[in-house]
C-alpha cells in the first residue's frame, strides 16, 4: 500500500491532482483511492487530499493515514499547518517553496532529519500555465522523486486526462510537469 497526503488550499487543484494521479495509476492495473477533507469548503482554506494505491482492492475507508509521501502545494502551509502530522520515519516530503531545501528546513525545524524535496510549483505554474495552479507540477516532481513511472508515459497519460481542456492549456501543463520533474531537489 502506497499512501499520499496532499496539503493544499481549496482551489489549488489538490483534489483534481489526486484524482488525476489515481486515474493514471489505475491504467497500469493497480487499485486506487482518491479523496479529500473539505472542511468549510471555502476557496483559500487549508485542506488535505489523499491517495491510496495497492495491488489488491482497497477496502480501507478510514480517513486516518500515515503517509509514505506528503505533498505540500502551497508554500505557506508548511508554516501554518502541521504537515508532519501522523508521519513515519520513512515519510518523504515534496514541498512547494522558493527556498532551497536547506533554507526551508532551517525555517521550519519540524522538517529537520526528514527526507525533504523542494520545488517551486507556484512559480512553475505561473510561468507555464499562467495561473498559480500547482497540482500538475507537483505530480511531475513526484515522478522524479518516486521513479514511479517514466516521465514520458506519465505526460501521455495526463494529456488524456486533461483531454477536455484547450490544447494550449494541455501543452502548458506538460511543460509544467517536465519543469518540476527537472527542477525538484
Amino acid at each position: 500500500m502506497l499512501e499520499i497526503r496532499w496539503h493544499s488550499r481549496a482551489g489549488q487543484g489538490a483534489v483534481t491532482g489526486a484524482k488525476g494521479l489515481a486515474d493514471v495509476i489505475s491504467t497500469t492495473g493497480k487499485h486506487v483511492q482518491a479523496f479529500a477533507f473539505y472542511g468549510s469548503a471555502k476557496r483559500g482554506a487549508a485542506m488535505t487530499a489523499y491517495n491510496r494505491v495497492d495491488d489488491k482492492v482497497i477496502m480501507n475507508h478510514e480517513k486516518y493515514m500515515i503517509p509514505d509521501y506528503v505533498f505540500v502545494i502551497d508554500p505557506a502551509l508548511v508554516f501554518t499547518s502541521d504537515v508532519t502530522i501522523n508521519h513515519k520515519d520513512s515519510t518523504k516530503y515534496i514541498i512547494t517553496t522558493h527556498l532551497t531545501t536547506e533554507e526551508l528546513v532551517k525555517a521550519q525545524p519540524k522538517l529537520e532529519g526528514k527526507e525533504v524535496y523542494t520545488v517551486d510549483c507556484i512559480t512553475i505554474a505561473n510561468e507555464t500555465i499562467g495561473r498559480p495552479i500547482p497540482n500538475t507540477p507537483m505530480l511531475g516532481a513526484f515522478m522524479k522523486v518516486s521513479g514511479m513511472y517514466d516521465i514520458e508515459f506519465f505526460k501521455e497519460s495526463m494529456q488524456r486526462i486533461l483531454g477536455k481542456l484547450p490544447q494550449k492549456i494541455i501543452d502548458a501543463n506538460m511543460f509544467a510537469i517536465q519543469r518540476a520533474y527537472d527542477e525538484v531537489k
Binding site: A18, K19, A22, D23, S26, T27, H31, V32, Q33, A34, F35, A36, Y38, A41, I58, M59, N60, H61, E62, K63, Y64
Partner: protein, 407 residues
C-alpha cells in the same frame, strides 16, 4: 430525438456520485426533477450535463425545493416515465412527506441518497441519519459500500422498482464524501449492455394512457386506508425479496459481480462479528482479516437491503457466531440503535442467541478507524471469553470526552 453513446474504459476512476450519474445516463431516465444539495449535487449535475451534451433523451426539471423535486418525480412517474433524482440530509428530510406519497401510490422512482448528517448542528458530512429517517416510508432501500456498488445498485434498483409485481420506489444509499467524493476504480458496463439489463420502461396505470383513464393519489378514510397499507406491506414482505434476488442473480450473470441481500464475510467459523452498513463494512472486513492473524476468529455482516429488512437472512448469517456488535451510524436519540433492535428481533426466537451489544459511531462524518475496529473485535472476544456482555449494551465509538455507555 437521437442521443449519443459514450465510450467507457473497462475500469474508470469515478467517485460514487459520478458512478451514480453514469448509471442514470445508461438507464436513459425520462425525467429528473431535482434540487441539488451537498454531497449529492454532482449526481443530478452529472445527469443534467449528459442531457445537455446529447447523451440522454429526457427532461431535467429544476424545482424550488426537495419537496417539489419529489413531487415532480411523482407526477412524472404517474404519467408513465422512468424517473429518478438524488438528495441528502435536510433535502431528504424535506422530501419525507412526498416519500410516503410515492410509495403509497406505488410509483417506481429511484432516489439516490448520499447519506449525510441531519442538523442541528449543521454538518455536511456522512452519517446514516437521513437513511434511518426513511426506513418506515415504504420504499425499498439498497446500501452501497463503495463507488462500484453505487453504480451497480442503480441498475438493480430500476429493475426491481419497475417490476409490475413490485411497483415500489427504491433508494440507493451511499456514504456522503467517503463514497460520494472518493474516486476508486469502477468496472463499467457498455451503454448497450447496461440498458439491456434494465430494458425499456413498461408503463402501468399511466395517466397518459387516455384509453384507460385512472386516478392517482386518492383519499381513503377508515373504509379502505388500512387495506391499501396492508397490501403495500404485504408486497414488501413477500414479493420484493424474491425479485431482488432474481435481479442480483441476473446482474451477476451479466457483470460477474455478485450481490447478496445480506453480505457475509468470513462468517462460516466466526466467533465474533460486527454488523454494519456503508463504507464501514469494507473497513471492517480488512480489520477482520487482520484479527484472524491475531487468533480472533472475526467476521463481518453487511446489510445490503435495509428495507424490506432481511429478518430471516440476518438470523441465518448470525446463527453460529458467539458475540455480535451492531454498529449504528445515527443517533437513536433515546433508545437502542436501529440495527441493535432489528437484530435482537431477528434472533429472539432462535435457539442460539449470541451475545449482542450495540455501538453508535461516526456521527457527522467522524472517522471510523481501523484501530477502533481492532479494539471492538477484542471487546467482543472478551465477551465470548466471559460468556456474557462485559460492557453496557450501548456504547459510543470515537466520541471525545468522558466515556458514555447506557443500557
Amino acid at each position: 430525438m437521437a442521443f449519443d453513446k459514450m465510450e467507457l474504459k473497462d475500469i474508470e476512476v469515478w467517485d460514487g456520485n459520478f458512478a451514480a450519474a453514469q448509471a442514470m445516463r445508461q438507464c436513459q431516465i425520462d425525467v429528473v426533477a431535482a434540487y441539488p444539495i451537498t454531497p449529492s449535487t454532482p449526481i443530478v449535475e452529472g445527469y443534467a450535463k449528459f442531457l445537455a451534451d446529447g447523451y440522454v433523451e429526457g427532461e431535467f426539471v429544476m424545482v424550488e425545493s426537495e419537496h417539489a423535486a419529489m413531487s415532480g418525480c411523482i407526477g412524472a412517474a404517474a404519467a408513465g416515465g422512468r424517473v429518478a433524482t438524488a438528495t441528502s440530509s435536510q433535502g431528504f428530510a424535506l422530501m419525507v412527506e412526498t416519500l410516503y406519497q410515492a410509495s403509497g401510490m406505488r410509483l417506481p422512482i429511484v432516489l439516490n441518497v448520499v447519506n449525510r448528517a441531519l442538523a442541528a448542528p449543521l454538518n455536511v458530512n456522512g452519517d446514516h441519519s437521513d437513511m434511518y429517517l426513511g426506513r418506515d416510508s415504504g420504499w425499498i432501500q439498497f446500501d452501497a459500500y463503495c463507488p462500484q456498488d453505487a453504480y451497480d445498485l442503480n441498475f438493480i434498483a430500476f429493475k426491481v422498482s419497475e417490476d409490475h409485481d413490485v411497483r415500489l420506489p427504491c433508494m440507493v444509499h451511499q456514504d456522503g464524501f467517503i463514497t460520494s467524493h472518493t474516486a476508486q476504480g469502477v468496472h463499467t458496463l457498455s451503454d448497450d449492455v447496461a440498458y439491456s439489463f434494465v430494458g425499456d420502461f413498461k408503463p402501468m396505470n399511466d395517466m397518459l394512457d387516455f384509453e384507460h383513464p385512472v386516478t392517482h393519489g386518492v383519499q381513503t378514510e377508515e373504509d379502505w386506508h388500512f387495506e391499501h397499507k396492508a397490501r403495500q406491506h404485504n408486497d414488501l414482505m413477500t414479493k420484493v425479496m424474491p425479485k431482488i434476488q432474481t435481479a442480483f442473480d441476473d446482474f451477476e450473470k451479466l457483470s460477474g459481480r455478485k450481490y447478496n441481500i445480506v453480505e457475509t464475510y468470513d462468517m462460516d467459523d466466526a466467533d465474533v462479528c460486527v454488523v454494519c452498513m456503508g463504507t464501514s463494512v469494507e473497513t471492517a472486513r480488512e480489520v477482520a482479516t487482520e484479527m484472524r492473524k491475531e487468533g480472533i476468529k472475526a467476521g463481518v455482516v453487511g446489510i445490503r437491503v435495509i428495507r424490506p429488512f432481511p429478518f430471516f437472512e440476518i438470523a441465518k448469517a448470525l446463527k453460529n457466531v458467539k458475540a455480535i456488535a451492531a454498529l449504528d451510524r445515527s443517533s437513536p436519540n433515546g433508545t437502542a440503535g436501529m440495527l441493535f433492535n432489528e437484530i435482537a428481533g431477528s434472533l429472539y426466537n432462535t435457539e442460539k442467541r449470541a451475545l449482542l451489544s450495540g455501538y453508535v459511531y461516526g456521527l457527522g462524518g467522524r472517522d471510523l478507524t481501523k484501530a477502533h475496529l481492532v479494539a471492538l473485535f477484542k471487546e467482543l472476544q472478551a465477551n465470548v471469553d466471559a460468556g456474557k456482555v462485559t460492557t453496557q449494551l450501548q456504547q459510543f465509538i470515537g466520541v471525545r470526552g468522558p466515556k458514555l455507555a447506557y443500557l
